[in-house]
Amino acid sequence: MPELLRHPAGVAGTLLLAILAVAVVAGPVLAPYDPQAFHTLARLQGPSLPYWLGTDQFGRDLLSRVLQGARATVLFGVGATLGGVAAGSLIGVTAGVLGGWVDSVIMRLLDGLLAVPDLLLTLLIVTVLAGGGGHAMLAVAVAFTPGLARIARSAVLSVRTREFVQAAVARGEGRGYIIVREVLPNAIGPLIIEATIRVSFAIMIGATLGFLGLGAQPPSTEWGLMIAEARQYMFRNPWCVVVPGVAIAISALGFNLTGDALRDLLDPRLRHAAAR
């Protein structure tokens, strides 16, 4: 952690994530108004003293709504990624450890799925499952699984040939011990990095789905949905699109920069370059 704060991208990323964390934890408390309250006399306003970031087409306070929406948005991103990591590492580790024809079959199936872009795959799954926040999250998790499985598998393969794993095999250790105690702790690094970066993609896909009406449903304050609802009024008051848009950008950037910094710090070959 202290090293993260010495890395330029790490500092920026951590700062952005800290802002996001405050919004997630204390957003509803900090919000000056009820995010769903209509202030009919102050519709589509720019920033002002009573409404710091302006109001939307119903006169709802944008600051309050964006603070409220942080929880749903971040939860979606983190939840979908964790789901993908869980499924992906299970599949990837299985393929990497068992090898042979199991590996061949799993990897060829994943190759096929990887050929389809994440967003397209998500849309396909969401359409089949019917929309809604929960289903959208599941769809993103499924779409992430092949990529994460590949990473888990290659991490396992590179660790499996290391001599300390060979030593455990020579000792006569069981397969379970070798996977859990010897391989996984050394293979987890690349997965953590990839997951951090992917949270930002998940947030953006979530926002896209919200925008298309396939994700969170009104009156949720999910940021993508906020943009979708306000898009007709975009030219009368840009703020109602810009505010949630910037919020999405901040969180995506935060996760992305932190992920980049983690990658540099966990890779010993890049470590020195980063320090200079």
């Binding site: 061949s104 060979q166 020579a170 000792r171 006569g172 702790p185 200079r276």
Partner: protein
Amino acid sequence: MSDDDSTVLSVRDYSLDYATREGPVRALREINLSIMRGRTLGLVGESGSGKSSLAWSILRALPPNARELGGTIRLLGEDLRQRTRREIAAIRGARIGIVFQDPSTSLNPTLTLGAQIAEVLVRHRGLARKEALAEGERLLARTGIARPADMMRRYPHQASGGEKQRVVIATAFACNPECIIFDEPTTALDIITARQILDLFAELQRETQVAALYISHDLALVARVADEVAVIDQGVIVEQAPAAALFAAPRGEYTKALLAAVPDPRRRLVNAPPDIDAPPVFSVNRLCVRYGQTSALMRLLGRAATPVAALTDIGFSLRRGEILGIVGESGSGKSTLARAIVGLEGFAGEIRLGEDSFSARPLLDRAYRRAVQIVFQNPDASLNPRQRVGDILARPLKLYGLARGADIASRVAALLTDVRLPPDFAGRYPHQLSGGEKQRVAIARAFAAEPRIVICDEITSSLDVSVQAVVVRLLLDLRARTGASCLFVTHDLNLVRQIAHRIAVLYRGDLVDLFEVDAFDVAGRHPYTRALLEAVPIPVAS
């Protein structure tokens, strides 16, 4: 030692630091050395001693965090430190040549060997491309390559390690440089190839009268090639003398310790012979290992890979407490043998442990695996970086049920004491230990299982000479106390002659020779054994 007309390279009062986040790190202090025309200066030091830093300083190719604190580096009187980057580029390769340790990384894999020699000639000697290629061929012929025209057209991966190093040497000599730096030029090569390269070096040096700086960790080797030797320790040259004088009568404490640590076959470390009449505790009969399995998909398509025999019909036995040395070049199958015996490779044939006989890898049971332990070459790789030393040593105790509960901690402490490490090392992670300390932990882990056989797979080759000696003594001590037998796989012939009772020679997967260590020199040895023996210099008497 004063600079006169025949001094080619002279370094005076040269000091160097590296700037790091933790502050400056000392690399070189007050270095003084000079090399005359036609002479070779050997620079000997252990890893981290600064010997490579000095090579980079002379070549003016220091990393950006290097801080030169003063001194001069003169080539025929002109100070290289005052030269611009462009002037240095013209000097490097033309007037100072370099031969690195590993020819496979110093050659560009995407260019033919001919193109790489020609490039130097075009650039520094201004030859036309056609002339350069012809000259390159002539240079290759001079390095003893059999068909130079053919070699010119090959890519690096189509040449052997020895051939590649010859090409690198030909390139270094191509522009008739005044000075050539050899940075461990034979370390990455096989024993016999290394010997040929060394002979080539001597011959070319005599012929061209180049001034050579020969950097190595290997004292015995430097004794053969150098006229004068400088010993460097922690950035300081601690002793400098003519080679014969230095080896006959070392003055410095460090030099003495270094010389004493060099394995010398005339100084046996193991004396008591094993009980010859006792039945063998371990044996292998007609052991075979084949590589190249056909994948499921390929089998489906009816394309079977032809298996490659890594080991063919290997047979030997071990008596209680015996040390059997296994020697051979890389690719001879000696590591495969070690791996097959500890159940890391599938095998055919028979392995016997006491009364039990095993005929395939899956049959090796836990009792066998406990009795036969292995120590790997590289302790950085063989210890799990995420586990504490205490957990690493406790694992075999738990796995084989040798200790329970509170006993475990005291057994771990005892194991650490056995390998002369303080018991509080149990709380450390491997990266907090030095290479030698890590290897001692790996040895302790093997002996934790109370084994009957310990396989040592090149356990000293990643360690410095002085650390090697400590680790070997420790192993011998543990072996004497526990009565375990030992299979000592190594390429270091002098070391194996110091410790082994018998020696087995592997050549391309065959066991070609097996004999008592005293019978190393006698007539009737296999020709390959003789070739190995002749390739290895016995250190000068100290």
